[in-house]
């Protein structure tokens, strides 16, 4: 993530990078958005993405401050640096949005996702699934005589790898939470 080496904005008083490098290469950015937890706020954010043709790779949302009624939305999106800047500026215009953080630029940050996988099988396949789960530190949260439900958390790449391994071993269903991300200390 730090290899992207994107210059920070030079306009001090703005949350946005107003002098970006204008590359044509798509980049993956993780945005953390702090919003008032009020009816329709998620629709405003999502509507912005669909209305203006931006991508959403992953989206999570939950209340993070019960007394302050604040929710945190984590969006993973892709676009050229110009598009990413435009996305942040457009999100910033939404009235219930308090803060927009580009963790990819402000980083380093930690990204985690939780997934649950239902794997059905017997014999060697069942044993192999169990062994793989051990290696990936996945937990068994439900079991029958011919199925497991594994719970795994980690960076999205790790989950992708685990999912690919489980496919030939009887994977029948996946539920993923989407990415939650936070800046590292200080």
């Amino acid at each position: 993530m730090s290899a992207l080496n994107i210059k920070k904005g030079t306009t001090k008083h703005s949350a946005y990078n107003l002098r970006p490098n204008f590359s044509d290469v798509d980049e993956r950015h993780t945005l953390a958005i702090l919003v008032d937890n009020e009816a329709g706020v998620l629709a405003r954010v999502i509507g912005l993405f669909s209305g203006r043709g931006y991508n959403i790779e992953s989206l999570t949302v939950a209340e993070v401050d019960h007394t302050g009624h604040l929710s945190r939305i984590t969006i993973v999106t892709t676009g050229t640096p110009q598009i990413i800047e435009q996305i942040k500026a457009q999100i910033g215009r939404i009235i219930p949005v308090h803060e927009v953080h580009d963790l990819t630029i402000e980083g380093p940050s930690v990204e985690r996702e939780l997934a649950m996988l239902k794997v059905v099988g017997s014999g060697d396949k069942r044993l192999e699934a169990m062994r793989m789960a051990d290696i990936f530190r996945a937990n068994v949260v439900d079991s029958t005589l011919n199925s497991f439900v594994f719970e795994i958390n980690g960076a999205p790449d790790k989950i992708d790898a685990f999912v690919e391994l489980m496919r030939p071993l009887g994977l029948v269903e996946i539920a993923r939470t989407g990415v939650a991300a936070i800046l590292r200390g200080e």
């Binding site: 306009t11 008083h13 946005y16 107003l18 329709g40 509507g47 939404i94 009235i95």
Partner: protein, 583 residues
């Protein structure tokens, strides 16, 4: 101070506390309690329109000509959906509008009740913000916040959806206290960036000011500061359609409007400049033409209160986020303390280059003794109304561009036109809103016959409130601008761009109780225009003009600024297949 009252009473009290004197609206089942309160008071005038779209455009005209927010009150369902075009129009042109809609009772929301629509969902993308109020206790604070959001930062339309049971119920009224609002956009620009811009101004050889609606939205002080800056530096200035009047058309540095139908000298100045100072404009596609060839050799500064405008379309070298008046004040202050320097000789040379371009006389047209040229009609209208306290609205199309080219505006808030959305049917209701705000001024709507018919029902409103709005219709019996594009792009196949069943506009005026004037002879035009001006009441002026006149100059879509079509241009095949995809 908190007082107990019903939700409907709160609506009226909130409007009162916001200093609202006029509301444009149309009653219906879901707003009956509010209308009952309107009936029992005299502080706020309610103007009954004939269609909800008309209410929003009237409020836009009111807002744009006064700088105050326009207020609309309509019912649920169809009342709200009819307001959508007006909301979108106000969003694209950044006009402060507060729309109050009735809604079915909160306990019936979601049951497909009679006249229920998901107003919040429908209007979410076409408002700056909207609110559904489910508790009467929250109603007044939401309405006050709505006014704050509509008028603060980059202005825009907002909507408050009020279920009928909330209007009936009692609650505690809270007065306005905007200081506590969560929405507080930054007004002051970054001083480092402003200093960088001033340094660029000191050395620029070919500078140009490119101004937009943001100057007008910032308030009268911004226009004053702009004039001071332009006159002190001697830099040429052009403006978008939205910004006309912020710098006077009589000013010596005025280049005229730029863009697709802008003036030759303005567009060439934009193309050839080495420093472009964008003040409150947004690099709209009508302005830029071909992006990759847009002003290729200039340093670009962009002053805008909305961070999302910066780098949206055109890469900007000196971004300044802030309110135009605040930023201009700082620019002037810093420029003066650094010694009021400009690159004098080079700028003089630049000005003489512009004078050369001006000789092309891009607005020249051949007059005719037999028929009225639309350009001639507007030239005469300009000459005969110039000394009046005049406000102009327009519909959308050729007549709109001709109005921008041939009418001259010397003050802000005098020209109301649908710029971003291009809403046919905007001008007439807008002129009604303007006339409400300025009862003794001359208010003229420059229209095409097709646009005008889109909201002609508002004749009833003009008559009912005795509003002497002048409807100056350039009648070519064509959708002129679309027809022009068909000529340029589609082999002169004029698919559905003429009207075969136009009304007799004079009889139409008379049917409503207004005055109708028809003119087709250039020799009679002046007298007819004077008759219109001097008549104390609404007039429909049916000006029969040359039917196949094209609007020039023109930057064909997909072309850069230095490839303009002039009046006598050969028009076939000028737009290539790539350009024809763009509108």
């Amino acid at each position: 101070m908190k007082r107990e009252m019903t939700g409907a009473q709160m609506v009226i009290q909130s409007l009162r506390d916001q200093g609202v004197d006029t509301v444009f609206g149309y009653p219906g089942g879901a707003v009956l309690p509010i209308y009952d309160e309107i009936f029992q008071q005299n502080d706020i005038r309610h103007i009954l329109v004939r269609h909800e779209q008309g209410a929003v455009h009237a409020a836009e005209g009111y807002a744009r000509s006064t700088g105050k927010p326009g207020v609309v009150l309509v019912t649920s369902g169809p009342g709200a959906t009819n307001a959508v075009t007006g909301l979108t129009d106000a969003l694209l042109d950044s006009i402060p509008i507060v729309v109050l809609t009735g809604q079915v009772p909160a306990f019936m929301i979601g049951t497909d009740a009679f006249q229920e629509a998901d107003t919040i969902g429908i209007t979410r993308p076409c408002t700056k913000h909207n609110w559904l109020v489910k508790e009467t206790d929250l109603l007044s604070s939401v309405i006050h916040e709505a006014f704050h959001v509509a008028t603060t930062g980059r202005p825009g339309p907002v909507l408050v959806d009020i279920p009928k049971d909330v209007q009936f119920a009692n609650g505690l009224y809270t007065g306005p206290k905007p200081a506590t609002s969560r929405y507080q956009p930054q007004l002051k620009g970054d001083i480092e960036s402003i200093t960088e811009l001033v340094a660029a101004m000191e050395t620029a050889k070919r500078p140009v000011f490119y101004t937009g609606g943001g100057v007008i939205n910032s308030g009268p002080a911004a226009s004053q500061l702009l004039r001071e800056l332009v006159d002190a530096t001697g830099f040429p200035i052009t403006s978008t359609l939205m910004g006309l009047g912020s710098y006077p058309a009589t000013g010596k540095n005025w280049l005229g409007m730029l863009g697709m139908h802008g003036l030759y000298e303005a567009n060439l100045a934009m193309h050839g400049c080495d420093l472009m100072i964008n003040i409150g404009a947004r690099f709209d596609d009508r302005i830029t033409g071909l992006i990759s060839a847009f002003s290729p050799n200039s340093l670009k500064a962009h002053i805008d209160i909305d961070p999302s405008s910066i780098n949206k379309v055109i890469r900007c070298d000196i971004p300044i986020v802030g309110d135009v008046a605040h930023v201009l004040e700082d620019i002037l202050k810093i420029w003066k303390t650094r010694g009021r320097k400009t690159n004098g000789n080079a700028v003089t040379k630049w000005q003489s280059q512009i004078s050369e371009w001006r000789k092309a006389d891009c607005l020249g047209f051949s007059t005719s003794a037999k028929s009225i040229k639309p350009q001639f009609a507007l030239e005469r209208l300009q000459a005969l109304t110039n000394d009046h306290d005049r406000y102009v609205t327009t519909e959308v199309g050729q007549h709109q561009m001709w109005a921008a080219q041939y009418l001259h505006f010397n003050d802000p808030n005098r020209f109301m036109t649908s710029g971003g959305l291009g809403t046919m049917g905007y001008g007439f209701p807008s002129s009604i809103g303007v006339q409400m705000a300025h009862p003794s001024s001359l208010v003229i709507n420059i229209a095409g016959e097709a646009s005008w018919l889109m909201n002609m029902q508002e004749m009833g409103t003009a008559i009912q409130y005795n509003l002497p709005v002048k409807q100056f219709i350039l009648n070519n019996e064509r959708l002129g601008m679309v027809r022009q594009w068909q000529e340029l792009l589609h082999g002169e196949r004029y698919s559905h761009t003429w009207s075969e069943a136009l009304p007799d506009f004079v009889k139409l005026a008379e049917a409503f109780g207004a005055k109708g004037i028809r003119c087709h002879d250039p020799a009679d035009l002046d007298d007819a225009i004077m008759e219109m001006i001097n008549y104390d009441g609404p007039v429909i002026f049916d000006c029969l003009v040359e039917k196949h006149e094209n609007c020039f100059p023109m930057i064909p879509s997909g072309k850069p600024h230095n490839e303009m079509l002039m009046g006598d241009a050969e028009t076939q095949g000028v737009i290539d297949s790539k350009g024809s995809v763009m509108v």
